[in-house]
Assembly symmetry: C2
Homo-oligomer: 426 residues x 2
């Protein structure tokens, strides 16, 4: 067994405790898991002062270190925010239970009864940045789906996460579950992340939530299976037969409604046949929304004649996930050329076509290979809550296991239960 | 783009050609894919002589190298075997098309229409051993599910695989598809396998088919997502309330019907309450089937009093996937102790319980976390054909994406298609 050859460390010990706890949690019925979630919601409210006090330490340190105010804001917990987190946990209780759902079943010709049943994954590791709400959110979704969770947040939120996890652990014990179904990964060093990524056989899946560089590191170094999430270089393609007003509204909404998130658009591609009409109006609408355009020569020419500024786009722009009020922009000779551009540069998150032409919509949705393809709708709709999943652990941009917004079913595996009465193979 | 920083090699070039071909293949309707499969079946029959001649070279080399006769047998192609392979391709044509199947769909409160649709994975890499039939079988399943395939067989079957892939490529072109939907990975060196494992972004999934050491290497070194297949340390647990004759029949069938395959049993666990009756009869039945028992002290004691030989079992035996006429054997004090043993040593493939007790069956299936759990049936039933899937690309022993026998749906991903009429987020 290769696991026993690896030197034991606090991280591996924690993973082993999670594994044992997961075995107890997996067969626990919904009532037990929901009771644990209710205990968590109640404890968060009851112990909000303690949590906010611990958080104040993290916030003071972050400010002293000159951290950007937007990051400090995400880090900050107030009594109101803790109450909102507790309310989110109550919402998770109400969601349908994925565990035990029969995916398919049949009686085989020899009389064997076959059932494929959803089961928890086991131990889920989450690596994330300085957002303490993720600590509770991820733990709640893992508990609901019967998984033990190993949480590895940012060291800048360590005091907050320690306080939150103490509350969570006390609450699950009250509901009769082992405390180790929820654990913070011990240690604040980089090595503890590396050990978590190497704990194959102890941890069933790692979900990195955060920036592109974090995700790239985990994907490249982890021997534990990874679900890649959240990198979104999303495209809006305005077809030759787009309604101009619809296209403008969707473009501006996709780009500027909330530029810092993964489902915001980063590139607009416009069919040459509509460029003369569309580009001047798009430049005006984007300027009004405060968006800087990085355009190809066609966009630059139109900008010149209409007195607007367009920065010249390079390959770096086509590849960029700006997450800011910037957009790359090109004119393409055809729908197929738009698809080619998307194939070359997209991260496979979300692409939208704006068109009144049914054949164009059909061709675009068939040829574009991304987690979500929008027809006459904003890229901003790729989201677990918007899709009606009630919860979201992340948005997968990979093709294995889960693709697109991941809800509770995506936190499960399956097993086959086969029942006979003495069946043997001839 | 990290891909462009990696030095270009023949393997990466092949993967890039596969990627381009996959984009053409993905939107091809079933009729085109089925026509390609029919052309393959016909070409295999028409060009059987050419294939058998190339294979004869591999076989001669293997014999000269002193290869075991069982391995030479698996390597060998005859006109009859080629005809059987062609017939298997015809069977794949008849299977339901997984591509385009709508997995779920709804109309969201805002009127957006959401559909989750099955799509091909893209480029599938298969790494396998000296069985030329896998070349055709894997290519046929990938084509049927709309995927381009990169085949990396054993160098000892290189001439056979080269001949087979030439036939396959000619056939798919005849059906109007690009030849590069089927490719042999260039090069026979270990480095070419390493390059394949590092072609993240070009190859969507790697499926290693073969021995435990091959699979371990791929799992540890690949940055391309891997589906682990086929390691089977399977257990038969004989409960206190088992019918003795049923238990004997299932035990012997699980172990000895075909010991060389992954769903054969490798360990038998017997409840202490039935050991006095069961062990002497089990020793007799296993001896008759030619099986060597590696037992704990209880089995050794019974062997002593009944004049049979039982080798002492060590931790190595509990961990072993013998794939031979050997079995590890222990007596356990309870069902829960059997579950503990399985949790400690199983590879998570298949475990069986033999019992007349409904509560014991229910507890065992709830607590055992393996791809398949059998109740009163042989472990040998964990198999795509037996499960009625009509085809099998392997048996997954991991929890992500696919678990247990993998048929055509497991060779697909999904995408969300979302249709509106100008929807934007407020």
């Amino acid at each position: 067994m290769s696991a026993s050859e690896t030197p034991d460390t606090p991280v591996r010990q924690a993973a082993r405790r999670a594994r044992t706890a997961a075995a107890d949690l997996a067969p626990a019925p919904r009532t037990t898991r929901d009771a644990a979630l209710l205990a968590i919601a109640e404890a968060l409210t009851a112990r909000a002062d303690e949590i906010v006090a611990a958080n104040a330490g993290d916030v003071a340190k972050a400010r002293a270190a000159g951290t950007a105010e937007s990051v400090v804001d995400r880090l900050t917990l107030t009594p109101e925010r803790v109450a909102a987190i507790a309310s989110d946990v109550r919402d998770v209780i109400a969601l349908p239970d994925p565990v035990g759902e029969v995916q398919r079943g049949s009686t085989l010709p020899n009389g064997l009864e076959l059932r494929q049943v959803r089961v928890p994954l086991g131990v889920v590791g989450i690596i994330y940045e300085a957002r303490p709400n993720v600590t509770v959110d991820a733990a709640a979704l893992c508990l609901k789906s019967g998984n033990a969770v190993l949480l590895r947040g940012s060291s800048s939120a360590h005091a907050s996460n320690t306080a939150l996890v103490a509350v969570l652990r006390d609450a699950v014990v009250k509901a009769g579950l082992p405390a180790d179904v929820v654990q913070l990964v011990p240690g604040e060093s980089r090595e503890s992340v590396t050990e978590l990524m190497r704990a194959r056989g102890l941890v069933d899946v790692l979900i990195p939530r955060g920036g592109a560089s974090l995700i790239k590191t985990v994907v490249e170094q982890s021997t534990v299976p990874v679900i890649e999430t959240g990198t979104g270089n999303c495209h809006v393609y305005v077809d030759e037969r787009a309604d101009i007003d619809t296209a403008l509204a969707i473009l501006v909404n996709s780009k500027a409604q909330r530029p810092s998130v993964c489902n915001a658009a980063e590139t607009v591609l416009v069919h040459a046949g509509i460029a003369d009409t569309f580009l001047p109006r798009a430049l005006e609408a984007l300027a009004e929304a405060g968006v800087t355009v990085h355009g190809d020569s066609a966009w630059q020419t139109v900008a010149g004649t209409s007195g607007r500024t367009v920065l010249p786009a390079t390959d770096e722009d086509w590849a960029s996930e700006y997450l800011s009020y910037d957009i790359a922009a090109a004119v393409v000779p055809s729908l197929d050329a738009a698809v080619e551009h998307i194939r070359a540069w997209s991260s496979g998150h979300t692409e939208a076509i704006i068109t009144a032409d049914a054949a164009a919509a059909r061709r675009f949705t068939a040829l574009v290979d991304s987690a979500a393809v929008m027809v006459n709708a904003s890229t901003r709709f790729t989201d677990g809550a918007q899709f009606g999943f009630g919860a979201e652990i992340g948005i997968s941009t990979q093709k294995l296991h889960a693709r697109g917004p991941m809800g509770l079913p995506e936190l499960t595996s399956t097993k086959y239960v086969v029942t006979g009465d003495g069946h043997i193979r001839e």
